[in-house]
């Protein structure tokens, strides 16, 4: 019973804050709501016997990615930028399609998805088990991801950095 209470409480939080993310005009409020939403998803992960991934979810998403979002919003001072206008037909189509999609998914899932209780898990997923899998079965994808991350670092630096020679130009202007 307690599990159901926890599930529905955090599911409500996740959905409500997700709605705030897409409906609120102010991106800072949106980013903070997304943090709340992702945090409640971490609680779901704990319910699903994945405490290691729940911790990672908070560390990576809340601790790193969303802080990056907030940083960019604040540094670019976007919270005062006027929201670009959207054509009403686009708005309508967007809301209509996604609502229809959600309704269809919920209808068919509640009809066909398993509504019997989940099996008691045969494993308690520990960090050790995930680590063993990562370094045995999935060693190649793991290395690929590390290369991808390196490429992302270089790419991000290159893209967001000032153009080459910018500092030199400022120096000349100062003179």
């Amino acid at each position: 019973m307690l599990e159901y209470a926890v599930f529905f409480f955090f599911a409500t939080i996740a959905v409500v804050f997700a709605l705030v993310v897409i409906l609120h005009r102010n991106p800072v409020v949106g980013a903070l709501s997304l943090v709340a939403s992702l945090f409640s998803l971490a609680v779901m992960y704990v319910l699903l016997d994945a405490p290691f991934l729940a911790a990672l979810q908070v560390i990576i998403y809340a601790g790193a990615i969303m802080v990056l979002f907030l940083f960019v919003i604040m540094l670019l001072n976007l919270q005062h930028a006027p929201e670009p206008t959207t054509r009403p037909i686009q708005q309508f189509l967007g809301y209509f399609t996604s609502a229809a999609f959600a309704a269809a998914m919920v209808y068919y899932l509640s009809k066909y998805a398993l509504m019997t209780a989940m099996p008691e898990s045969r494993f308690t997923s520990s960090a050790r088990m995930i680590g063993e899998r990562l370094f045995e079965t999935y060693i190649f994808p793991f290395e690929m991801v590390s290369i991808l991350l390196l490429a992302a670092i270089v790419g991000a630096l290159l893209l967001s950095g000032r153009p080459v020679g910018h500092r030199a130009r400022i120096g000349e202007e100062m003179k």
Binding site: L2, N26, V28, V29, L32, V35, F39, A42, P51, F52, A54, A55, L56, V58, I59, A62, G63, A64, V67, L70, F71, M74, L75, Q79, T124, S126, A127
Partner: protein
């Protein structure tokens, strides 16, 4: 899951004890900080309220409550109000996974006509012994950034904003070296569970086959480097001098909480000291043997538990005092120096230490 009232009562007792201690850290630490700074700077310090100024914190608290609670006109009301709570939440919760005493056996007894603890049961002095304990601490610590960012942004004040951006950049940078330094310990212990890490540090080892030392990680030849990195990063992570760029009162008025007054400011204040206490508890658990008493084997009884808990509190108090001591001894760094230190010195050192520990494990020295 069978519903066991004894379990719930025990948990509530643990939570009450830990929260009680944690909440009283702030007034005590404020007093220690002010008297300590006075001691170091050779002046009397607060000495009017109570003997040796002991009740100064109470007077401060009263003052905080009486002050007007101002919300600036340009502030974002909701976020401005919620920010102190964001800041306080991780400081209050992270301590839940830290063990604070030796487990002991509760003997069977009659309470209110009911038999409890049938056949004796173990009492584990930790609120939640989760298998990913150390990750939970870091996860909650990373939430702490939001309190500062939200406060700085919602205040709509450029000093608050600058303070918030500086503080979060600093916290993110040092979180890396903090986590990597802790990783060395995890590698040596082979577990993410903090209780395992403490158990692994009880007992002793022989240095150079001659000097018996407690088996604390700080004495381990493979981990002392991690200890240094961890402690310095902890200072940066809790925004203490010499790394207190979040406030930097000489440069930024008061940093991210410039606009805050009354109890909202008090909450930030409390969060800062509680984060410090949590960080000290973590330093003690990871490197200073947790509740382990050197050269002494505690019995698994209530007395042994009390002794070990006292040892834990004593160690944490010592680390907290070191925090104060360093604050009033070292001047503030320059901001670019701080970032350079974090990324170019401590991050490589932490990585190097991981390699060292791995080599030790490969050579079967650990």
């Amino acid at each position: 899951m069978p519903f066991d009232p004894t379990d719930i009562v025990l948990s509530l007792v643990k939570i009450a004890v830990v929260l009680g201690v944690l909440l009283s850290v702030t007034p005590i630490m404020v007093w220690v900080e002010r008297r300590g700074s006075a001691l170091i700077q050779d002046r009397p310090g607060p000495n009017r309220v109570g003997p040796m100024g002991l009740f100064q914190s109470l007077a401060d608290a009263l003052k905080f409550i009486m002050k007007e609670d101002i919300i600036p006109a340009g502030a974002h009301k909701w976020i401005y109000t919620l920010a102190p709570a964001f800041g306080l939440l991780p400081a209050l919760t992270a301590i839940a996974v830290v063990p604070w005493g030796r487990p002991f056996v509760l003997r069977e007894r009659e309470i209110f006509g009911r038999t409890v603890f049938e056949g004796g049961r173990w009492f584990h002095p930790i609120i939640a012994d989760v298998s990913v304990g150390i990750l939970v601490v870091f996860a909650l610590a990373s939430i702490g950034v939001y309190g500062i960012v939200a406060a700085g942004w919602a205040s709509n004040n450029k000093y608050s904003m600058l303070g918030a951006i500086r503080a979060s950049a600093q916290m993110i940078s040092y979180e890396l070296s903090l986590t990597l330094a802790a990783l060395s310990v995890l590698l040596a212990a082979g577990s993410l569970r903090l209780t395992d890490i403490v158990w692994q540090q009880s007992g002793r080892f022989l240095l150079f086959d001659a000097i018996p030392l407690p088996a604390w990680n700080v004495f381990s030849p493979a981990l002392w480097l991690a200890f240094i990195v961890f402690v310095v990063s902890a200072f940066a992570e809790t925004n203490r001098l010499p790394f207190d760029f979040a406030e930097a009162e000489a440069e930024l008025v008061a940093g991210y909480h410039t606009e805050y007054s009354s109890m909202k400011f008090a909450l930030f204040f409390m969060a800062e000291y509680m984060a410090m206490a949590t960080m000290s508890a973590l330093i003690v658990t990871l490197f200073l043997g947790g509740w382990d008493i050197p050269y002494y084997q505690e019995p698994p009884t209530f007395a042994g538990f009390l002794l070990s808990a006292l040892a834990f509190v004593a160690k944490v108090s010592f680390v907290l005092f070191v925090f104060v001591w360093i604050r009033w001894t070292l001047p503030r760094l320059k901001y670019d120096l701080l970032m350079r230190l974090g990324w170019k010195v401590f991050l490589p050192l932490a990585l190097l230490n991981i390699v060292i520990v791995a080599a030790f494990i490969a050579a079967r020295w650990l």
